[in-house]
C-alpha cells in the first residue's frame, strides 16, 4: 500500500488532508513536529512526504534539508504544503531539494488529490 507521511502541526489541517485522501486508499501517518517527522520518515520510508513549513520545533525547510541528506530518503518525494506566495514556495523547493509544493488552503479536493497522485511514483 502507498504510504504518505504528513508532517503538519495544525490539527484542522491534518483532519482536512486525511479526509481529502480517505478515498484514495493511501495509508496516511502523521507527525506534528519536525523531530517526530524525521524519526517516522526513517522508520516508515514513506512513498511521499507532505511537509508543512511552519512547525513548532524546527521549521519545514530545516527538516527538508535533513530528510534529503538521509541516504534512505534521498529519492522520496517531498512536497511542501504552504500558504506562502508561490515565488517563495518555489524558492524553498529549489533550495531544499523538494519535489514540489501545494498552496494552502486546500479548497478543491479533487485538484489536491490529483496533485498528490502526480508525485507518487508508480512501481
Amino acid at each position: 500500500m502507498t504510504k504518505i507521511l504528513l508532517i503538519e502541526d495544525i490539527p484542522d489541517n491534518v483532519e482536512l488532508v486525511r479526509k481529502a485522501l480517505s478515498r484514495t486508499g493511501y495509508e496516511i501517518s502523521h507527525a506534528a513536529d519536525a523531530e517526530t517527522g524525521l524519526a517516522m520518515a526513517l522508520a516508515q520510508l514513506p512513498d511521499l512526504i507532505l511537509l508543512d513549513l511552519g512547525l513548532p520545533d524546527y521549521d519545514g525547510q530545516t527538516l527538508a534539508g535533513w530528510l534529503r541528506a538521509e541516504a534512505t530518503l534521498v529519492d522520496t518525494p517531498i512536497v511542501v504544503l504552504t500558504a506562502w506566495p508561490e515565488e517563495a514556495a518555489k524558492e524553498v523547493v529549489k533550495s531544499y531539494g523538494c519535489n514540489g509544493y501545494i498552496i494552502k488552503p486546500i479548497i478543491k479536493i479533487n485538484e489536491f488529490i490529483a496533485q498528490v497522485n502526480s508525485y507518487i511514483k508508480t512501481p
Binding site: 502541526d9 513548532p56 520545533d57 524546527y58 521549521d59 534539508g65 535533513w66 506562502w84 533550495s95
Partner: protein, 293 residues
C-alpha cells in the same frame, strides 16, 4: 470589547498555555513561526523575557484572547510576541495589551523600548507609531540550505573557540544590535561556540554562533583587521565545511552590516525583512556590553 477583557500577568499561565495561545494568534499568518513549549521556554530564557511583566488578555470567563511579552535587560526593554486571536481582532485587544505592557514597564524605571515588526505588517506598524515608536532601520532574516554547493575553506589560520572563549569575544563592543543579537542573547544561549581566523594578509576576525541539533543560528561577526566582507567569507567557508549537513538561519542582520556581501556570496537568501523600532532615548548600556557585567 476592551471593557470586557482582563489583562493577566503571563506568569499565571503555564508555558504550554502560553505556547498554545501564541500559536493560535498566528495561525493565519503567512509565516506563522509556531513554537512548542520547549522552544518558547528557550526563547524566554535567551531573550530575558519576564513573564511577571508580560500579559495575557482573556475574557471575563478566562478564555485566552491574546498575548504580549516583555524582555528586560537593565534599563532597556523589548516588546515581543504580540498576537491576538484572528476572530477577535479589530476590537482593541492588541492596543489594550500594548498599553498594559508599557504601563507594566513604568515601575521598572525603564524609559527605553525596542521591538521589531515584520515589514508590511501595516496594522502592527501603525499601532507602534501611535505609541511613539520610531523606525531605526531594516533587519534581514537570511537562510542557507545545507544543499548549497559548499565552498572550499579559505586558506587561513583558523582556530575553533569553545563556549567560554567565544563568549569573551562576544562581550566586546559590536555596536548597537537588535535585542535578539545583543551579547546577552548569546550569553544565555546553549551550544555557543566560535571561530577565530587570521588571513595571510593579516586580516583578522571572529564569528560566534549557536549550533542546534539541525541548525546553525545566532551569528555574531566582528572584523578586527581588514575588509569585513573578505573576513566574513573566510569565516563562513570554514564554518560550513565544519557543519555541511546543518541548515542555517540568521535573524535580524542590519541591512548596512558590512559582513552582508559575504553572506550572499556564500549562498544565503533573504526570507523576509523586519523593521526595528525604538521608543525613548537609548541608554549607554545599549552599547559595549561586557560579559563580566
Amino acid at each position: 470589547m476592551t471593557n470586557a477583557i482582563k489583562l493577566i500577568p503571563a506568569s499565571q499561565f503555564s508555558i504550554e498555555q502560553l505556547a498554545a495561545i501564541y500559536n493560535q494568534t498566528r495561525v493565519d499568518y503567512m509565516v506563522p513561526m509556531p513554537m512548542n513549549a520547549a522552544r518558547l521556554a528557550e526563547y524566554i530564557a535567551t531573550y530575558d523575557v519576564k513573564l511577571e511583566n508580560s500579559l495575557v488578555a482573556t475574557t471575563q470567563d478566562g478564555e485566552m484572547l491574546g498575548v504580549i511579552m516583555l524582555g528586560v535587560r537593565k534599563d532597556r526593554a523589548w516588546i515581543t510576541r504580540l498576537g491576538v486571536l484572528p476572530n477577535t481582532r479589530r476590537g482593541g485587544i492588541g492596543r489594550a495589551l500594548f498599553a498594559g505592557l508599557i504601563e507594566q514597564a513604568g515601575p521598572l524605571s525603564i524609559n527605553f523600548h525596542m521591538l521589531e515588526v515584520i515589514k508590511n505588517n501595516v496594522p502592527a506598524h501603525q499601532l507602534f507609531l501611535k505609541f511613539g515608536f520610531r523606525e531605526i532601520g531594516e533587519l534581514l532574516v537570511l537562510r542557507r540550505s545545507p544543499l548549497t554547493q559548499p565552498q572550499d575553506p579559505v586558506v587561513a589560520d583558523a582556530q575553533r573557540l569553545d563556549r567560554s572563549d567565544a563568549l569573551v569575544l562576544v562581550g566586546h563592543d559590536r555596536g548597537t544590535q537588535p535585542w535578539t543579537n545583543q551579547s546577552e542573547s548569546l550569553f544565555n544561549a546553549n551550544e555557543v561556540s566560535g571561530l577565530l581566523l587570521t588571513l595571510a594578509d593579516g586580516s583578522r576576525g571572529w564569528l560566534v554562533y549557536q549550533r542546534q541539533k539541525f541548525l546553525l543560528t545566532r551569528f555574531a561577526f566582528k572584523t578586527e583587521v581588514g575588509d569585513p566582507a573578505k573576513v566574513a567569507y573566510a569565516l563562513l567557508s570554514h564554518l560550513h565545511n565544519q557543519y555541511p549537513r546543518l541548515d542555517t538561519q540568521i535573524e535580524n542582520i542590519q541591512i548596512n552590516d558590512p559582513h552582508l556581501p559575504a553572506l550572499y556570496e556564500m549562498g544565503y537568501i533573504e526570507s523576509f525583512r523586519r523593521i526595528e523600532m525604538w521608543r525613548g532615548i537609548p541608554p549607554a548600556s545599549l552599547k559595549g556590553i561586557k560579559k563580566t557585567e
